[in-house]
């Protein structure tokens, strides 16, 4: 398969002709699903970084059993629907009144087939109410269901001190009140809780200006603007940046907020395979060569939408290659760093720092404050004229209420903590602790023999479970027997056959907590037979790889 721009992908410069000859050496080795890429850049201050990711495929019998289980679930779903339709069984879902039976149907019966027949049976593993701060340990309210998960009731008991492996609490800043939060109390006393206005009217406070300056300083860019809600940052600002006649190239597994923003903008959307630079390059070449569909005019703008860390896969974007492509084909780049800001990079500045790149090269840096900063809201940062344009034209600035002052103060406090401006090095220590915890957790899970997706530095760890019965059994077992709260995800958030459990490692998890969790996972993995990996590594791999122990001559 020809790889036309293979050389340029790896090197920031436009020297295709030299690289054609050794293009085959640069091919990604994808044997058995493990991708290793040696990525080199021409600029002197980049270091050679080996991107180690793995997306191992499941053994064949697992996939067969998964589809078989879904088939059996579907058959029983048809049976129950038949019984409900013919009145033999009571229908607990929404139905129209009998006077409206002849009207156009209000509730689409078949589209909710999966929800009604499979999701309802295992629904007790989601939407579990908690009653404490989402720190490393939290309290879960106990609830039972009498009619197979159609309704729940609380028993009144609380399951205390459950280890939290599900909250996006990467740096441990989402915790109970402690003395360092005193400034938030002061801000609450002065400013109150509500802003009661939009940014354009009377909702711009000096707290927002302070926060925006601090965010710009943190990210090392010219300016930033903050918004009250992270989802709305994406969905309301992409329509302000692109419109009809523009092209959006978005990754296959982008978050719903990016997809919604892209669709609302009215631009043409083309999707490239997840994290696959060859697919992106092919789309870019076609866009530049063929232009718009009917008129063949040049596209007004080409915007590449990617995320810093993809939370369902645990993969980190291949930023250097995408930057090289963007420079070659003159496209714009929008990175959504919701899960990677504060969590990735030596000082927590995000994917640009992780790869050692200059943040000025990315056109639009977007992120949220929900995950690593323990607050809510989002930001968009970049050049000053971009941010000034957004201040005037963003839908969120005109119509949505601005960020609440105590939340803004919490973000200011977290940013100062991470940057070290409060006089201590605790912030940096937490970022490093998170990196250590992540690598330890991932390495141990891989040694045990589970299939883990993603980059070894991403703090979101998906563990593949595949079968729907095991998904339910895993979540229930972990909460009730082992007192560990995990989040499991299935269809439609993931592909049908790839249901997974998603762990979010936090800097506030101590080594003992991680060891408890790992031991519990070991036992559960043996009980439910979840260790599908065929690459079981021994504890000391280096000794076995050596063929001789003599010194090389």
């Amino acid at each position: 398969m020809a790889n036309p721009g293979g050389g340029t992908v790896c090197n920031g410069k436009l020297h295709n002709h030299k690289k054609q000859s050794n293009g085959s050496q640069r091919r990604n080795c994808t044997k058995n699903g493990i991708v290793k890429e040696a990525q080199q850049n021409g600029k002197p201050h980049f270091y050679d970084k080996l991107i180690v990711e793995s997306f191992e495929e499941a053994p064949l019998h697992v996939v067969v059993f998964t589809y078989m289980a879904y088939g059996i679930g579907t058959l029983f779903g048809y049976l129950r629907d038949f019984l409900r339709n013919w009145g033999i069984e009571k229908c607990n879902a929404a139905v129209e009144r009998k006077e409206q039976k002849d009207f156009v149907p209000l509730y689409q019966d078949f589209e909710n087939f999966y929800t009604r027949n499979l999701y309802m049976r295992i629904r007790d593993n989601w939407n579990r109410p908690i009653c404490s701060a989402p720190g490393p340990l939290f309290d879960v309210m106990e609830r039972v269901s009498d009619d197979y998960n159609w309704t729940f009731r609380f028993t009144g008991r609380i399951i205390k001190d459950v280890i939290n492996m599900g909250s996006y609490n990467f740096l441990g800043l989402a915790d109970k009140y402690d003395e360092s939060m005193k400034t938030i109390k002061d801000v609450l006393e002065v400013y109150g809780t509500g802003v009661a206005s939009t940014r354009h009217e009377m909702g711009t406070l000096d707290k927002h200006k302070e926060l925006e300056d601090l965010v710009a300083k943190f990210l090392n860019v010219e300016a930033a603007m903050v918004f009250g809600m992270g989802f709305a940052t994406n969905s309301m600002n992409i329509p302000a940046l692109v419109g009809k006649g523009c092209l959006i190239l978005s990754d296959e597994l982008n978050h719903t907020s990016l997809v919604l923003g892209a669709r609302l903008s009215g631009a043409t959307i083309r999707v490239f395979k997840h994290n696959n630079t060859q697919s992106l390059e092919k789309l870019l070449r076609d866009a530049v060569i063929y232009g718009q569909p009917r008129t063949r005019r040049a596209w007004k703008k080409i915007l590449i939408l990617v995320e810093g860390t993809y939370s369902m896969e645990g993969s980190i974007v291949h930023l250097p290659q995408i930057l090289a492509l963007k420079k070659k084909y003159k496209a714009y780049l929008y990175i959504d760093e919701a899960h990677s800001i504060g969590a990735v990079g030596p000082t927590g500045r995000g994917v640009t720092e992780f790869f050692g790149l200059d943040p000025h090269e990315v056109d639009v840096l977007m992120g949220t404050f929900t995950k690593s900063f323990g607050a809510s809201g989002g930001y968009i940062a970049g050049r000053k004229d971009l941010v000034d344009y957004l201040r005037v034209h963003s839908h969120s600035a005109v119509y949505a209420t601005s960020m609440s002052p105590p939340i803004a103060e919490q973000i200011i406090r977290s940013l100062k903590f991470i940057m070290g401006l409060d006089g201590t090095t605790q912030g940096l220590q937490r970022v490093q602790q998170l990196a250590k915890n992540t690598r330890y957790f991932r390495q141990r899970l891989q040694e045990m023999g589970f299939i883990i997706y993603g980059n070894e530095n991403a703090s979101v760890v998906p563990l593949l479970l595949y079968m729907p019965g095991k998904v339910a059994a895993f979540a229930r077992h972990m909460l009730q027997e082992k007192k560990i709260g995990v989040v499991v995800v299935g269809f439609p958030a993931t592909p049908l056959a790839e249901a997974r459990a998603r762990f979010c490692v936090s800097a506030s998890h101590t080594r003992e907590m991680l060891d408890t969790v790992l031991e519990a996972l070991d036992e559960t993995g043996d009980l439910l037979r979840l260790k599908y990996s065929r690459h079981k590594k021994s504890a000391r791999p280096e000794l076995y790889d050596e063929t001789s122990f003599e010194l090389e001559d």
């Binding site: 059993f65 289980a69 879904y70 049976r121 197979y148 729907p468 019965g469 339910a472 439910l528």
Partner: protein, 76 residues
């Protein structure tokens, strides 16, 4: 003691069957129905195998030996 280990092993095996085939998430009456149907099908397969496989093997043997025997008489 050994009987208890065997019983534990079989109950673990039954649990594995339940979670792999999605029976763990079905209601009890659905589980019984599914188990009954599955056992019925397996019983029918076993019965058919017991009754018909010897006869089929004997017929196949006669057929092939006739072919080989015919071949050898022609060769003579």
């Amino acid at each position: 003691m050994d009987l208890r280990r065997v019983k534990e092993y079989f109950s673990w095996l039954y649990y594995q069957y339940q979670i792999i085939s999605c029976c763990a998430v079905l209601e009890p009456w659905e589980q019984s129905m599914f188990n009954t149907i599955l056992l019925t099908i397996i019983a029918m397969v076993v019965y058919t195998a017991y009754v018909f496989i010897p006869i089929h093997i004997r017929l196949a043997w006669e057929f092939f030996s006739k072919i080989c025997g015919y071949h050898s008489t022609i060769a003579n």
